[in-house]
């Protein structure tokens, strides 16, 4: 087992809203080993992006607040680190790319300038050296005619190209962790596959560990080694990708997997209909004491609605938080 690089322990994040305090993340524990790709899946509003922002130290405070927990990079607790130290970490040791490549680049600076800025900031490179680095990165992320395009502005590029630029920018200082927050959601399907290939390829070459945040089980299957399934700010199931895909235990995970059409099946053959999970994530200010998924769960009973299920290890590295599993284990 590779060495643990990043670990989040018992994290809780709260937000003050008009309707009261919302606990966006509750008792979240995950860990990322060196060179690993960890997938975090869940619907919008389940706390995936907030987990990423917490690791980056970018939770807007106020209205947000870190209520509990620790985030270790090696042996250093990032939640205790000073803002100056966090600025060193961001973009240098932990980088992040975002969902919206169309708007995530500053419109008034050339892309070369924006990539070079990171290298100059963290490695103190001269202007010329930083541009040389930017050029290398653009070549590495597969931008054709990089020596010309380095002077272009974001609006002159397509969405896929911009996401490549974002990746080049994130990897310019060879970070140890790359957080990719829905990196392909806004892109065409063909471009999505290219970006996945690029990320996998770069990971193989540089050994950067990746946290891949997505709502798409298909993307998880393609990218991740391990998967964390989140619902309403909590981890409901955690396992290796094969285990999750072949033996999902939590009804929510099962639902997510059923949402994805199986590409391996013969499309002309009779298929089971695509299913969706009924309902939406409840408002986080109105969670009761029970399992947050209970209102949407076809197996829910009185205990589910009354008590929060404990997290139970059922196999090597496979944990589930569900009364169903708990009772099966007891039986």
């Amino acid at each position: 087992m590779a060495k643990t690089l990043l670990s989040v322990e018992g994290l809780a994040v709260e937000f003050d809203t008009r309707d009261g305090v919302a606990r966006v993340i509750d008792d979240l524990s995950i860990s990322l080993a060196e060179g690993e790709t960890l997938g975090i899946v869940g619907e919008s509003g389940c706390g995936k992006s907030m987990t990423a922002l917490s690791i980056m130290g970018l939770v807007p405070i106020p209205p947000g607040r870190i209520a509990a927990g620790r985030i270790f990079l090696d042996d250093e607790d990032l939640l205790q680190a000073s803002e100056a130290r966090m600025r060193e970490v961001r973009g240098n040791e932990i980088s992040m790319i975002f969902q919206e490549p169309m708007t995530s680049l500053n419109p008034v600076y050339s892309i070369g300038n924006q990539i070079a800025e990171t290298a100059r900031l963290h490695e103190g490179l001269s202007r010329a050296d930083a541009f040389q680095r930017a050029l290398e990165m653009l070549v590495a992320v597969g931008i054709p005619a990089a020596d010309k395009r380095i002077h272009e502005f974001p609006h002159q590029m397509s969405g896929g190209m911009r996401q490549r630029v974002m990746i080049a920018m994130a990897l310019a200082c060879q970070p140890r962790v790359l957080i990719a927050d829905e990196p392909t959601t806004a892109l065409d399907v063909t471009v999505q596959a290219q970006i996945f290939d690029l990320l996998n390829d770069l990971k193989d070459r540089t050994g950067t560990a990746i946290i891949m945040i997505t709502h798409d089980m298909g993307a998880i299957a393609e990218m991740a080694q391990r998967v964390v399934v989140m619902y309403a700010g909590r981890v409901v199931e955690q396992a290796d990708v094969d285990q999750i895909l072949t033996d999902p235990r939590h009804p929510y995970t099962q639902g997510l997997i059923r949402c994805v059409p199986h590409l391996t099946q013969n499309p002309t053959k009779e298929r089971p209909p695509l299913l969706e999970i009924p309902g939406v994530v409840p408002p986080l200010t109105q969670l009761g004491s029970g399992c947050p998924f209970a209102p949407r769960c076809q197996y829910a009973d009185a205990q589910c609605r009354a008590e929060m299920p404990p997290t139970k290890a059922i196999d090597d590295g496979h944990t589930v938080a569900c009364w169903l599993t708990e009772r099966e284990a007891a039986a």
Binding site: F15, R18, S44, P63, T285
Partner: protein, 301 residues
Amino acid sequence: MSDSESTTQAGPPPADMDEIFVEHPFRQFVAMYFRNYAAVAGLLVFVTIVGAALFAPMILDLDPFEMVDEPLLRPGEGGHLLGTDNLGRDLFIAIVYGARVTMAVGGAAAGITLFIGLTIGAMAGFYRGWVDEVLMRVTEFFQVLPPLLLAMVLVALFSPTLETVAISIGVVSWTGVARLARAEFLRLREQEFVKAARSIGARDRRIIWLVIMPNALPPLIVNAALTVGIAILFEAALSFLGLSDPNVMSWGKLIGDNRDYLLDAPWTVTFPGVAIFLTVLAMSLIGDGLTDAFNPKLRER
């Protein structure tokens, strides 16, 4: 934004939104307006000034040009509330009478401004193509001429009467209204209800005035309040410079007449200025209130 994970979760609508939805639109409009205290204050000031302009001359029956006392009496001296000016005229009476001219000329000029601006903007936005091209070039042309200078030239070349002043102000200040009206028409002409009206064979004139215009009105009405304010400022500047009708009392003229006594008798220029300031301020506050009233949701944030 990142915090959307928590905050965009739609909670139950706030209680006051329910009552807004069930109310009659006009009552809702009035309710929203009166929630903005500054706008209510603006309305009060406006009503007071219009009231004074309309009724005070009927009741008082005085001549604002009459020398009633020694010149440059301080406020309160000799029973003159705001003092007298350099010609011994009672400042309070002059200001009350001045309200008439200021409101009449300001109102008329704003009317002309809106008429020209709406017509040109509506045509440009509705017909697009070469009509739009030509009208927008005309608009740009008028934006190049410094508005007050052009108004001064027009008044000087033609005659310094109140009519000329009002028309000149209208001629120099319609471009903003035209641009706004054009933008609204460009937006609305693509909407379904306009296509529906066209599909049942409505004529252009009907579509412009009865289908699109009512929907374009909210921002234009807000703009109209501001237009009145701007027209009053133009009138004040022209009469301050002595380019308006010399035989009619107005606030700007009062300041212009007393400008040489600025250092010795500062109240003679201060009070008429306060009158102009309060009136224009009232118009902007009313504009703000109307904006709130037309967009109740905007204020919710």
